[in-house]
């Protein structure tokens, strides 16, 4: 049990525990806050995977924007301050069954894959992943088209969200 494994296990416990609280708690604000704990755990996991830029982008976008959007949406769609009614469907036991079956199926698929027990290789010294990521996103031989399409998608989402919720004075 070396250091990285301990950190990974603690991080995984945080992520899975917070995710379980997200889907089972009655109070929606608490669910949004547990989501923030999950997202923070995922950011720590990215740091463990040497993807530092993705970790910071995760905090900025998910916690700084999406989670705050969720909290605002929860606050704007409550009629009273207390919690109301049961929060699980009538068929929730079927949902548990489907989730467990799906997890079992995925796990079975993974164990039959040859590369399942792979270990980490060292990143060759001198590769600057940040610089490579930047040039990959704007280079015509690499990923400039998906990048631009994602920008157009965000613009469409922006206009769409404003239009849908515009009350029209």
């Amino acid at each position: 049990m070396d250091f990285m494994q301990i950190i990974f296990l603690l991080c995984a416990a945080l992520i899975l525990g917070a995710a379980l609280m997200v889907v089972t708690t009655r109070n929606m604000i608490h669910a949004a806050l547990w989501l923030i704990a999950t997202l923070f755990g995922v950011a720590i996991l990215y740091v463990l995977l040497n993807a530092g830029f993705l970790a910071v982008v995760q905090v900025v976008i998910y916690i700084g924007a999406i989670a705050i959007l969720f909290i605002f949406a929860v606050m704007l769609t409550r009629r009273e301050m207390r919690d109301q009614g049961p929060q699980l469907n009538n068929g929730w036991w079927m949902a548990v069954l489907i989730s467990l079956l799906s997890f079992g199926g995925l796990f079975l698929l993974f164990t039959n894959w040859s590369g399942f027990g792979k270990m980490m290789v060292n990143i060759p010294a001198g590769t600057d992943t940040l610089r490579e990521l930047g040039s990959a996103l704007v280079s015509p031989n690499a990923f400039v088209i998906p990048f631009e399409v994602a920008s157009v998608l965000l613009l469409a989402a922006l206009i769409g969200a404003v239009y849908v919720s515009f009350r029209g004075k």
């Binding site: 250091f3 604000i29 806050l33 923030i36 530092g52 830029f53 910071v56 982008v57 905090v59 900025v60 916690i63 700084g64 924007a65 989670a67 705050i68 909290i71 605002f72 606050m75 301050m81 600057d128 940040l130």
Partner: protein, 396 residues
Amino acid sequence: MNFWNDPINFVSVWLRSLFSGWGMADWLVNVLLAVMGIVVLIICAMILDIMLVWVERKVVARFQDRFGPNRVGPFGLIQPFADIIKLLIKEDITPIGADRIIFNLAPIFAMTAVLLLWAILPLGSVIYGVDLNVGVLYIIATGAIGTLSIIMAGWASNNKFALIGAFRTVAQMVSYEIPMLVAMLIPTILAGTMSVNGIVQAQNVWFVILSPIGVLIFIISAIAELGRSPFDLNEAESEIVAGFHIEYTGIKFGMFYASELLHTFTFGGFIATLFFGGWRGPFAETYPLLGVFYLFIKAMFFYWVIMWVKYSMPRIRIDHMLAFNWKFLTPLAFVLLIVTAVVDKVLAQTNYHATGLLLANIIVGWVTIEILRIHARSLRKKDEIPAQPSTQAAHH
């Protein structure tokens, strides 16, 4: 390597030999040294925070033509300690119906968001917490945690005014993150790296000369991010009675107040680091402690500038503030970013790099003022026209 040339390494090597001499395992020594470094940095930040309370009260008093605290200790220097003792012995009230855990977590998150910033602020040429290669983005990330703490405080107080204050504050902070990020991208382009250390190392010419409008945009959006006047809708005493921290008493309110002051000073430090050379100065490379001194002077100067703006200007209304951001600051910041990137690329290796960028900034500023003038003139003309038919009607 002696103490004056490389203080942190000298002390850590000495401590490591001490701990290994006592027979500690290697990994324990590493963990212990890291924890000691963190604790020392936090203690320095918090002692600075206490002194900032004194600076704040003295400076506001001088702006308002009075003396400020001068009874408790010489020049009132012990006043902050008296303030903190008063806050500590106040009754700790949690309102009925408030969410206890979130209510108590919010001031902790506010203070955490500020202390996390001190990890990447380079205090000297070899004195810094950690050298992240995404330092500029990390600043925005910690701002996000601060915004989160305000929503938690506003919601958990079970108070409509706190909620309204929290909504307005969060709208303001999320809006002003964009021009702040774009203004921080300008030193990134000029230095070629997102690491704050790298930006300081690349400032042979201070970036304020290469991009004065960038500094202005950054200072304005930093004041809005901090929630300081004239953008202090969240604590508008005359409007919504202290906003999101109405229900906080005692040391929890002290945490919010102290975290705001320390946040202001830290942002003064970042203005100095990103645009004004940071710890650079005569002899700062050979004697890093001198670099700490230079950074402190510059950060204190910008803290004073932010306080000057706070105590001289009236509060801005929320719709004016958001219109100012989305209709003026953000387009200006993006135009400036494009102009800076193009000019920097074209004039990269020539002798005209600095003058070209300065000229480009002056042109952008002049064009902006012309556009504003034409816009203001057309608005004034629209207001004047209805006056004429009524005078003609009066003649008849």
